[in-house]
C-alpha cells in the first residue's frame, strides 16, 4: 500500500499546520508543507488548509489568502477531483475562494469561542466522513470568532437537497444557519469544517474523535 502524501498549505499567519502534520504523520501519512507562494501540487494525494489567521485575517478571514499564488493551482486541481480539506480558517479561505458556497460571519454572541462541540454526522459521502456512521456524533473542539455559517436560501436548499452538509452542531454554538459545522462541494471532494479534528486525536487525554476523520481521508487516497 502506498504512503499517502498530504500537502499542508502554510500562509503567513497560519498556526495549526504543525498540529495537523503531527496527527497525520502519526497515522502513517507523509506530510509536505506548501508555502503559500509555491504552485507545484503535483505530488500530492490530498491538500489540507489548516487553521490560523492567514494574512492576519485582514479585511476578513480568507479574503487575502484567496489571492496567494498557491490558490490558482489549488482551485484547478480541486476542480479535477483532488481532495481538499479546509479546517477553521481553511474553511473560510475555501468559501472566499469560491470552492465552497456561503460565508462565515462573526459568531452570533460576538465572542471568540474555544470549547468542545458535539457534531452530528449528516453525510458520510465525503473524503472526511466516509468512514463514519451516519447519524452518530463526534466531539471536536471549535476555536473561532467567525464560524457562523450563512448562505442564501437557494444555496441552503441545494446543500440540503444534495446532502452536502456533512456535520451539524448538536447544540448550535455560533448561530450557523441550519446548525452547519461542515459542508462539501458539489463534486464532494472539497470539504470545509469549522471544528478542529486534529485537536481531538490525543491518546493521553482520551479525546480521540478526530482521528476517524483523518483515517477516512487517508484510506480514500491510499
Amino acid at each position: 500500500m502506498k504512503t499517502p502524501v498530504v500537502g499542508i498549505v502554510v500562509f503567513p499567519g497560519s498556526n495549526c499546520e504543525g498540529d495537523v502534520a503531527e496527527v497525520l504523520t502519526g497515522l502513517g501519512a507523509q506530510v509536505s508543507f506548501i508555502w503559500h507562494t509555491e504552485s507545484d501540487l503535483s505530488e500530492l494525494d490530498a491538500v489540507i488548509l489548516p487553521g490560523g489567521f492567514a494574512h492576519g485575517d485582514y479585511l476578513r478571514p480568507g479574503a487575502i489568502a484567496r489571492f496567494s499564488p498557491v490558490m490558482s493551482e489549488l482551485v484547478s486541481r480541486a476542480n479535477r477531483g483532488l481532495p481538499v480539506v479546509g479546517i477553521c480558517n481553511g474553511f473560510q479561505v475555501l468559501t472566499e475562494t469560491g470552492l465552497l458556497p456561503g460565508a462565515l460571519q462573526k459568531n452570533a454572541n460576538l465572542s471568540f469561542l474555544c470549547e468542545e462541540a458535539v457534531l452530528e454526522v449528516a453525510s458520510v459521502d465525503s473524503p472526511l466522513t466516509h468512514g463514519l456512521t451516519l447519524g452518530t456524533t463526534v466531539s471536536l473542539p471549535i476555536n473561532h470568532f467567525e464560524g457562523n455559517y450563512t448562505c442564501d436560501a437557494a444555496t441552503l436548499e441545494s446543500l440540503q437537497e444534495h446532502e452536502r452538509i456533512i456535520f451539524r452542531y448538536s447544540d448550535n454554538p455560533n448561530g450557523s444557519m441550519d446548525s452547519i459545522a461542515g459542508i462539501c462541494s458539489a463534486q464532494r471532494n472539497v470539504v470545509g469544517l469549522m471544528p478542529h479534528p486534529e485537536r481531538a486525536a490525543n491518546s493521553i487525554t482520551g479525546k480521540t474523535d478526530g482521528i476517524s476523520l483523518f483515517t477516512s481521508l487517508l484510506t480514500l487516497v491510499r
Partner: protein, 732 residues
C-alpha cells in the same frame, strides 16, 4: 538647561546632575530623552534593585536567570524551557484592549529573543468590582485584548487567575506570563559581539506611538485629570506582524544567521542598542535616517524612544546579511541595517567600554554620544525610606468577626461567584496539542513540545498566583503563602516545582509604607523559595500602582514551573455521589486574609496564618507523588484550596458535577471551611489506601472530611446547608 524640561521627562534634579557628571557636560535633548527613558523606574528598577538582590536565583537546572530576556531551565532530553512574566497594568488602565494586547506581544518577544518558540501564555488579572461600569469596561477590554492578540499570534493561553477587589478599580493588574521551548543548543543571548558586525532592525516601521511609555506612563501614578491625554503613550499591537517576526527570527536562529538579538520593548531603540552593546562590551553606531518610519519628518528623539511594537534588533555578521535579508523577504518582514558594532574605547572615564553614537546619517552629524553602560546599567539606585504603617499593631489586633449570620455566608458563596470559563472560552487554549490539563484547573499541564523543536518525554506544570488580601494583612507572610500556594498548585498536576518568575505589583515607592511592603514581600519570596528549593529566574517590578494617591494592596504574583514524566493516560475525574472527600495536610485555623473576611468584615485584618514551609515541602512532594500514581489507577479529583476555602471548593464541585457535598461536623467550623491557608489538598473519590500510605511516608495528616451525596446542595453538618444555583457574576 531649564529644569522644567528634564522634570517633564520624569528626571529629578539629582538624576540630571548625575547625567552631567557622567558625560562631563550637559546632555543635549536627544541624550536627555535617552537617559530619561532608560533611567525610568520601569527600565532601571532603581527603587527595587537593592532589594531584588536578596532573591535566590540559582539552581541545578537554571540555564539563564534574571538579567536575560527570559529565565531558562533545563527540561531534560536536550530541551530548555524559557519563562518570563511581566505587568502591563498602567497601559491597560488607560486603553484596556491595546494595553493588554501589547503586554502579550511584549512578553512573547522576550521568549523568542532567547531562541525559544513561545508555546503558552497565562495571565493574572486583578480588576475592580464588576457592578461598576468603568471596571467592567476595563475587564472586558483586557480579556478581548489578550484574546485578540494571543489567538491571532498563535500562542495558546492555558491558564490564569481572576479576582475582583475595590483597590483595582482605577488601576487594574494585568500580569502575563509566557513559556517557550527551545533545543538547548539554539539558546542565544542579547549581546552585540564582533566588531564590524551589523545592527539590523527587524519588523515594524517605527512610529510615534508609545513615546515615553516607560517614563510618563509606567513610572507614574494614575488618577490625574490628564490620564486620557496619556493615551498616545500606549502602544498599538499587530499580532500578525509579531507572528511573522516569530517565524522569521526562529528561522534565522536555526540557520545561525545572527550572533545576538534583543527585542524592542520599553524605551525602544535606546534600550535595545544600549543594552546589547553594554552586555557585549562593545560600542555601537546608529544612523537614524536608516530607520524605517511610519511618518515623514520624525525627530531623532522620537525615533530613538518610540515604543512601536513588533520590532527586534539583530546583530549579524556581514557575510550572513544576504541570507538574512532573503529570509526576511520570505516572511514578509522588513529588515534594515541601521548601524554597526564598533570597538570599545577609552572615553568618558569608562575604561574599555563601548560608546553608543547616534548619527543623523552615515557620515553625517553626530547627534548623541553616551557610554552604553551608563544608559543600561548606571541609573541611580535608590535606598528609599522604609516604614511599616503606623497603625500596624492596631490593625492586626482585630481578628475578623462573622457572628452567626448564615445569610452572609450564603451571599458570599453565591453573589461573589465568577465562572472563569467566561474568560478562557475566548482564548485559544489548545493550539500545539500540548494542553493535557487546561484552564479551569488549579494548574496547567503541558507536553514539553513545540513545532519545529519536537517533543520530549516530560510534561510541565505551571500556575500563576497572587493574593493581595493576604499581602495587605501581612506582606511578608502573604508573599510566603503566595509561593506556597503556587508550588502546591503545580504539584496538583503531578509536577515537581523547580522555579518561579514574579511580578511585584506595588504602589508608589516614595511612600515609605509601600517600600516596606515591597521589601517585606521580597523577603517573603526569598525565604519561601529558599526553603522550597525554587530558583527565581526572572521577574518584573511594577510600582506606582495607585489611583488618586491611594496605593493598591501589595500584590506580588508568581508563576511557578515544574516538571514530571509525560503521563501515558490522563482522564478528568467526574465526582459522583458516595465519593469520600479527603483532606491531606494541615487545616486552616484563621479567617484572617480570607475572601470571606473581606466580604463580611472588611476593616478587620487580624494576624495572617503562618506557613510551616518544611511541612509545605512535604505536602508538595506528597501531592505530586500521589497525582503521578494515576498511571496505576484512579486518583479521583485532586484540588488545592483557593479563594473561599474548602467551602467554595465544595460549591464548585456541586456546580460542576451536579452532585451534592456534605462536610462532616468535625470540619464544619468557619475557620476550617473558609480559611484559605494553602496548606492542604482535597481529594474527592480516588485511591484511599494509596493516599494513606503516601501521607504516612511524608508524615502528613490525612482525614476524611465529608462525602458526595445525591441531592445537589452544599451541606455543612451542624452549620447549615445552601443551594448554589444562580447565575455567576458577569461583566456588564
Amino acid at each position: 538647561m531649564d529644569p522644567d524640561l528634564y522634570r517633564s521627562l520624569g528626571l529629578t534634579d539629582d538624576e540630571y546632575d548625575a547625567i552631567c557628571a557622567l558625560l562631563g557636560r550637559e546632555p543635549n535633548h536627544l541624550e536627555l530623552a535617552m537617559y530619561s527613558v532608560m533611567w525610568s523606574e520601569h527600565c532601571s528598577y532603581k527603587s527595587s534593585r537593592r532589594h531584588l538582590r536578596r532573591l535566590p536565583t540559582s539552581g541545578p537546572t537554571v540555564i539563564m536567570g534574571p538579567g536575560e530576556n527570559a529565565g531558562v531551565v533545563d527540561a531534560g532530553d536536550g530541551f530548555a524551557v524559557a519563562i518570563r512574566m511581566e505587568s502591563h497594568n498602567h497601559p491597560s488602565a488607560i486603553e484596556p484592549y491595546q494595553g493588554a494586547a501589547t503586554g502579550v506581544g511584549g512578553i512573547l518577544r522576550d521568549i523568542f529573543t532567547v531562541g525559544a518558540r513561545p508555546i503558552a501564555l497565562l495571565d493574572s488579572l486583578w480588576m475592580g468590582p464588576q457592578n461598576e461600569p468603568r471596571s467592567s469596561w476595563i475587564f472586558r477590554g483586557v480579556v478581548s485584548g489578550i484574546s485578540g492578540y494571543g489567538n491571532a499570534v498563535g500562542v495558546p493561553t492555558v491558564g490564569g487567575e481572576i479576582s475582583f477587589e475595590p483597590c483595582f478599580r482605577g488601576n487594574p493588574l494585568v500580569n502575563v506570563a509566557a513559556i517557550g521551548i527551545a533545543p538547548i543548543d539554539r539558546l542565544i543571548r542579547a549581546q552585540a559581539t564582533g566588531v564590524g558586525n551589523l545592527v539590523v532592525l527587524l519588523g515594524s516601521k517605527t512610529g510615534r506611538d508609545g513615546i515615553g511609555g516607560v517614563s510618563v506612563l509606567a513610572s507614574a501614578g494614575l488618577g490625574q485629570v490628564e490620564d486620557d491625554a496619556k493615551r498616545p503613550s500606549v502602544q498599538v499591537g499587530d499580532p500578525f506582524e509579531e507572528k511573522k517576526l516569530i517565524e522569521a527570527c526562529l528561522s534565522m536562529l536555526d540557520r545561525q544567521l545572527i550572533v545576538g538579538i534583543q527585542d524592542l520593548g520599553g524605551a525602544g531603540l535606546t534600550c535595545a542598542t544600549s543594552e546589547t552593546a553594554s552586555k557585549g562590551g562593545t560600542g555601537m553606531v546608529i544612523y537614524v535616517d536608516t530607520v524605517p518610519t511610519r511618518e515623514p519628518q520624525m525627530e531623532p528623539l522620537e525615533i530613538m524612544t518610540s515604543e512601536s511594537q513588533e520590532r527586534m534588533l539583530a546583530i549579524a555578521e556581514p557575510s550572513k546579511l544576504e541570507e538574512l535579508l532573503q529570509l526576511a523577504d520570505r516572511y514578509e518582514i522588513e529588515a534594515t541595517v541601521i548601524g554597526e558594532v564598533v570597538s570599545p574605547e577609552e572615553a568618558f572615564g569608562y575604561a574599555e567600554v563601548g560608546v553608543l553614537r547616534i548619527y543623523s546619517t552615515r557620515g553625517g552629524e553626530l547627534l548623541a554620544e553616551v557610554p552604553a553602560r551608563s544608559l543600561a546599567d548606571d541609573a541611580p539606585l535608590y535606598d528609599r525610606p522604609i516604614a511599616p504603617p503606623a497603625d500596624l499593631g492596631e490593625m492586626r489586633s482585630r481578628e475578623p468577626r462573622l457572628g452567626g449570620d448564615w445569610s452572609t455566608i450564603q451571599a458570599f458563596l453565591t453573589e461573589t461567584y465568577f465562572d472563569p470559563e467566561w474568560i478562557y472560552r475566548q482564548y485559544d487554549h489548545q493550539l500545539f496539542l500540548n494542553t493535557l490539563v487546561g484552564p479551569g484547573a488549579d494548574a496547567a499541564l503541558l507536553r514539553v513540545a513545540a513545532p519545529g523543536v519536537g517533543s520530549s518525554s516530560s510534561a510541565l506544570g505551571v500556575s500563576v498566583d497572587g493574593n493581595p488580601r493576604w499581602c495587605t494583612v501581612d506582606p511578608y507572610l502573604g508573599a510566603i503563602a503566595t509561593v506556597a500556594e503556587s508550588a502546591l498548585n503545580v504539584a496538583s498536576v503531578g509536577a515537581d516545582p523547580v522555579c518561579i518568575v514574579d511580578c511585584l505589583n506595588y504602589g508608589n515607592p516614595t511612600h515609605p509604607e509601600v517600600m516596606w511592603q515591597l521589601s517585606q514581600g521580597i523577603d517573603g519570596l526569598a525565604h519561601a523559595c529558599d526553603v522550597l528549593g525554587l530558583a527565581v529566574v526572572g521577574g518584573n517590578v511594577s510600582l506606582y500602582n495607585e489611583e488618586n494617591g491611594i496605593d493598591i494592596e501589595p500584590t506580588p504574583t508568581v508563576t511557578t514551573l515544574g516538571f514530571r514524566k509525560l503521563p501515558t493516560m490522563l482522564r478528568p475525574y467526574l465526582a459522583q455521589a458516595h465519593d469520600p472527600i479527603f483532606y491531606l495536610g494541615t487545616v486552616p485555623s484563621s479567617l484572617s486574609g480570607s475572601a470571606l473576611a473581606r466580604f463580611a468584615d472588611p476593616k478587620a485584618k487580624g494576624s495572617l496564618f503562618e506557613i510551616d514551609l518544611d511541612h509545605q515541602k512535604r505536602l508538595i512532594a506528597a501531592t505530586a507523588r500521589y497525582v503521578r500514581s494515576n498511571e496505576d489507577g484512579e486518583i479521583g479529583l485532586v484540588r488545592t484550596i483557593g479563594r473561599g476555602g474548602v467551602a467554595a471548593l465544595a460549591a464548585s464541585v456541586v456546580r460542576r458535577y451536579g452532585v451534592g457535598v456534605e462536610i462532616f461536623s468535625e470540619f464544619s467550623t468557619l475557620e476550617k471551611l473558609f480559611g484559605e491557608a494553602p496548606t492542604g489538598v482535597v481529594v474527592i473519590g480516588g485511591n484511599g489506601p494509596m493516599l494513606r500510605s503516601i501521607a504516612q511516608s511524608f508524615d502528613l495528616t490525612l482525614m476524611e472530611i465529608g462525602r458526595c451525596v445525591d441531592q445537589s446542595l452544599v451541606v455543612f453538618d451542624g452549620l447549615g446547608s445552601l443551594s448554589v444555583a444562580g447565575e455567576p457574576v458577569t461583566p456588564r
